[in-house]
Amino acid sequence: MRLGVLVSDFRNVDDTLSRLKADKLGLILVGNGVYLAAVKESGKPSQVLGMSPDIYALTEDLQTRGFSDADVDKRVKTITYDGLVDLIFNDYEKVIWI
């Protein structure tokens, strides 16, 4: 299964994410999920960023919250709504929102 997970929150997502298995797992940080890409706690980036090689963050939601591309962890690719629609239709068979 190719599974795209839209991660919309900063807290309480690790437990679910750590259990999901997929042949291809994409994590797409949206809403308050973008804090995972741009904020460290006690010097450490979120462990969510290590859970897949395919991590994206929505530019519009980063900018809403005061972040630019320069603030984003190197492992995260930024995408716009346009790119998100393509990801949903082309890269993943199923998409979920947590």
């Binding site: 900063f10 809403g31 804090y35 904020v39 706690e41 010097g43 900018q63 809403t64 919250r65 005061g66």
Partner: protein
């Protein structure tokens, strides 16, 4: 003739619920409350951000450009323009690795003179102790 102090303590993140926005709009309403009070009576608000709530104070929020909604940044600047006391918890600022330069510390661009201050949690605790009522958002 009395002054009642209300502490608006924000521990919620922005843009997930309406909580932090409503904390600021309600605190600002202290400016017009006298229409309901007797002469000389006042409400003195203090606003403090703690925990994940300090993320409300990040600069360069563009909620208006992206979603057509006033940013929390704008509300915070309005609060400073109206000389509200705004405190940001130092321990949380440090935990997130933020610096003063990444935070909304003033409203100079809209003519404000009052500045926000980064303070240890103990000062927020003191404000809570000297407040008549506490409102956690």
């Amino acid at each position: 003739m009395a002054t009642k102090k209300l502490a608006f303590i924000v521990r919620s993140m922005p843009y997930k619920t309406e909580a932090s926005r409503l904390a600021l709009t309600h605190a600002i309403a202290s400016q017009t409350v006298e229409i309901y009070l007797e002469d000389g009576d006042m409400v003195e608000p203090v606003v403090a951000f703690m925990g994940d709530g300090v993320l409300n104070c990040l600069k360069n929020q563009n909620a208006m450009g992206m979603y057509g909604v006033t940013s929390i940044e704008q509300h915070l600047k309005n609060s400073l323009l109206l000389d509200l006391k705004v405190l940001i918890c130092k321990e949380d600022v440090e935990r997130f690795g933020l610096s003063e330069s990444s935070l909304i510390m003033d409203a100079e661009d809209i003519g404000g003179e009052t500045k926000a201050t980064i303070v240890p949690f103990s000062e927020i605790q003191q404000e809570m102790e000297t407040s008549n009522h506490l409102l956690f958002f």
